[in-house]
Symmetry: C2
Subunit: 241 residues, 2 copies
């Protein structure tokens, strides 16, 4: 019971988890906390001695620019860690905000390290997940640097899709996606108006539909090809190295 939490599900694709490990994982989900949409979980400059696991809902990490615009660094979906970096290392210069109403579980550094010592395989899995997160930031960077608006949008929505699939929340047919076009604009470094036009193009080209909180892949393979999306870096689960 409880082992089908999004986190367990995600880590399970990296290493096969034992009963004991699942138990340790479920221990993480003490100290629940709920936030409403738009509420801040972490302000830049803050140095917390704990991280969070996102149990339900979507969050995002972002940085505000002087002119009032912002750049979203990444979205977090159920099963993702929030602020893992600022616990392990030094505080980062960004905010974390709830995109939808969310539920998080607070995990103290102590609990985390404790768990790592007791179950090294869990540590491996978490490090893999962290590594994947970092790879995604790099991929996002590539996206912003060298892809035009339509490829960028395609690639991003595919990546998000892969993550949702990993978390057991989506398929290659599509997934629920509560993002507004404004949020999409902020993560893709585009204007909301242009995002709107791009989404129309994708729809008209029969590639994907973004509507009413739902992303639908109309032609997954063609979209993957078009966006130059590398499926492997997300789904070749290297079961326990």
């Amino acid at each position: 019971m409880g082992q089908d939490s999004p986190l367990a599900r995600k880590l399970g694709t990296y290493v096969v988890l034992s009963e004991e490990e699942l138990l340790v994982l479920s221990k993480f989900h003490q100290r629940r906390r709920s936030l409403t949409a738009g509420q801040d979980l972490l302000h830049q400059g803050e140095t917390k001695q704990s991280a969070y696991i996102l149990a339900s809902g979507w969050a995002c990490s972002y940085k505000l620019m002087r002119d009032g615009t912002r750049q979203i660094i990444d979205f977090q979906i159920p099963g993702d860690f929030l602020g893992l970096r600022s616990i392990l290392f030094r505080t980062a210069d960004h905010n974390i905000e709830a995109v939808t109403p969310i539920e998080v579980s607070e995990v103290s550094m102590h609990d985390l390290i404790d768990a790592f010592v007791k179950t090294p395989r869990l540590a491996t899995a978490v490090l893999w997940a962290a590594s994947r997160d970092e790879a995604m930031v790099v991929e996002h960077l590539i996206n912003l640097g060298r892809r035009d608006a339509i490829e960028r949008t395609s690639h991003f929505l595919l990546e998000l899709g892969s993550r949702m699939i990993l978390a057991g929340l989506g398929t290659t047919k599509g997934y629920p996606c509560p993002l507004s076009q404004y949020l999409l604009a902020d993560v893709l470094g585009l204007s909301a108006v242009h995002i709107n036009r791009v989404l129309r193009q994708l729809r008209e080209n029969g590639l994907l539909t973004f509507r009413r909180g739902l992303v639908t892949f109309e032609d997954f393979d063609r979209l993957v090809e078009f966006a130059e999306f590398d499926k492997s870096y997300l789904d070749d689960g290297p079961l326990l190295r």
Copy 2:
């Protein structure tokens, strides 16, 4: 002697290093290897059980796009680790190439972990450095997403400058920089032609000069202000937390 290696110098700004720690650091610099400019150190997909420390010269990590263009993820300067991620975690989807002739020291995962166990403060320092690297990737992402060409270029050259200062290779007056305008274009997600125009603007505005392998800050403070550059995230050396 030897403790004024770029790496020692850099880590020294994070924690004060003892003689013993400096000795351990110098041990890292066995197994030297030299590469000529343009040579690849790491291909994407490769999974090495060792990382490298850049002893001299500049390198870059980048990803090739289908259309032949590329996006440079980051440059590495003396004192930086190369491929640290792919040793700790899983192999990343990018290449590492020598920008100038370089000298690297190979560090096996074993040696690294050994050093960490013997000298935890060194581990702290290295993790801080890694954290700083990650923060820089995030800042680079912000740069690509939300700054126009001239702010972007300014910000990037300032950041590089901060790193050079940390490594003891530059000052707020300027630093040696062996990058061509093509390389600058590849890291900033712009065309080489446009980089050229941007550099001219910066020169004409009396902000900075990029010439013959030398970046000269003509007006450091005004440049920092203009680029919305956050000095603190690089130089507030939190001496041993």
